[in-house]
Amino acid sequence: MNLKPKIIVRNLFMSFKQEKEIKVLENINFEISLNEFVSIIGPSGCGKTTLLRIIAGFLKPTKGEVICDGTTVKGPSPSRVVVFQKDAVFPWMSVRQNVEFGLLAKGVSQEERTRISNYFIELVGLKGFEDNLPKTLSGGMRKRVDLARAYAAGPEILLMDEPFGSLDAQTKSKMQEELLKIWEREKRTILFITHDISEALYLSDRVIVLTSRPGKTKKIIKVSLPRPRKNELKFTPEFAELEREVWDLIQEKI
């Protein structure tokens, strides 16, 4: 067991200067261990996405730092791949070309690319759709392409910014189940942003609850529900109780 944390967020402050200074994040501190699944939840506008973008390396924090594997994050890196809420699958590339993009960037040979993309395309359940263009796929299938593409790039950390936010309720819960299945087979450290309490609890080992703006770490909740988890888990009393607890936390002022 690797005890050194995979991601350390330390004394993180973020503010945007427009006409006046807007504080977005205030003194955020947490650690995420190797292959842990952690969600960040909070009211809308609390800076969840900003926090993820800082960890991804797209934004520089005003103060404090993010340390991944012992080094401070300075910019985007294929060791931390982001799955966005918006559809980020390249529409001009086939499913396979999308999945191989990260490998192409790394200069992996064609043979190896095919082998790896085959594996991940099958893992996300898109075997037989390799040559399809994204426009021929449904929203849920495109998310699978996005997941496979992120995985194939070989990251140790996956940063997911409300990836299922734009899907309908049924597809969403199907994708949650699917994501857990994939993660059980291919463990990675996952940081998952959402505003959906049930989604956060269902997926995660721990849930970090942020306050409204400026976002502060309000509480970190350990979810000790047994794994592997099935969708039915959401209808158990234990789950409902946890949901209630987080709901109350988010409702509270300050």
Binding site: A56, G57, F58, P76, S77, P78, R80, V81, V82, F84, K86, D87, A88, F90, P91, W92, M93, F101, G102, L104, A105, K106, L133, P134, K135, R149, A150, A153
Partner: protein, 262 residues
């Protein structure tokens, strides 16, 4: 197939009506009421004779080839330069800041206004005509490419970046493909610009070319010859547009479209 037959039927009717009306008003007995000479509104038979004439003498063929040569070389050179500069300006802020003032200054000047200057500088030969087309096509394609690059959704660029893409890969596999629809629509607009310029340039100074036929027809009070020039240009323009549209459809199959546009 049924649909196609129907369209053809309407075409024949539509053209038939137009030609009939023209035949009537161009009868020498009638046209004399409006024009002093029948050559100004020539009867259909005269036009037909003229077409046969220029076909047999090879004048139409030579003129078409001439115009085509000027058109394609100007279009290709201007297009390649326009797309290259558009990518450069769209991609690099520094280059944008340095070159954009010139673009903004020169672009609004109609190419036709440059004919006298170009003639002074480069003479009345081929160079001037081709350069005029290059100039027109260059700015149209530059602007559309620039727009295309600027409008690439941020999410694609960020996705590519965090997947480890280098600048080169980002440009080649993400920015250019995403900008292709803009670039292609620029090429289609440039086509119209180029035709306008070539006719004007050939009218000003030339011994051959479809634009030359038009001006020669005017000088000799021979409207039939003007018709030939106009129809030749119309036919070529139609052909070029058809080809660009085919290429367009090929390169943008990935787009979610709301059906074929005209």
């Amino acid at each position: 197939m049924k649909q196609q037959k129907n369209t053809l039927y309407y075409w024949i009717v539509s053209y038939g009506i137009t030609i009939t009306i023209y035949s009537i008003i161009s009868l020498p007995q009638i046209s004399i009421l409006f024009f002093p000479r029948p050559e100004i509104l020539p009867p259909v038979t005269w036009v037909f004779k003229k077409v046969c004439n220029v076909l047999v003498s090879g004048l139409l063929f030579r003129s078409t080839i001439r115009s085509l040569e000027r058109m394609t070389s100007g279009y290709i050179i201007g297009g390649v330069l326009g797309v290259s500069f558009g990518l450069l300006l769209g991609w690099s802020k520094k280059v944008d800041y340095m070159i954009n003032p010139y673009v903004q200054l020169i672009r609004p000047i109609p190419a036709l206004a440059l004919i006298p200057l170009f003639t002074l500088w480069f003479g009345i030969g081929e160079v001037t005509k081709i350069l005029l087309i290059v100039e027109g096509v260059f700015f149209v394609t530059l602007i559309s490419t620039y727009e295309g690059v600027k409008k690439v959704p941020i999410v694609y660029i960020e996705a590519a970046r965090c997947l480890g893409a280098s600048n080169h890969l980002l440009l080649q596999k993400v920015v250019i493909p995403a900008a292709v629809p803009y670039i292609l629509s620029g090429f289609r607009v440039a086509l119209a610009t180029a035709w306008a310029i070539i006719v004007a340039a050939e009218i000003v100074a030339s011994k051959e070319g479809l634009g030359y036929l038009i001006i020669a027809g005017s000088n000799h009070v021979d409207a039939s010859l003007i018709y030939v020039g106009i129809m030749g240009i119309g036919f070529l323009a139609y052909l070029f547009d058809k080809v660009t549209r085919l290429i367009n459809a090929r390169l943008t199959v990935w787009m979610e479209t709301r059906g074929e546009g005209e």
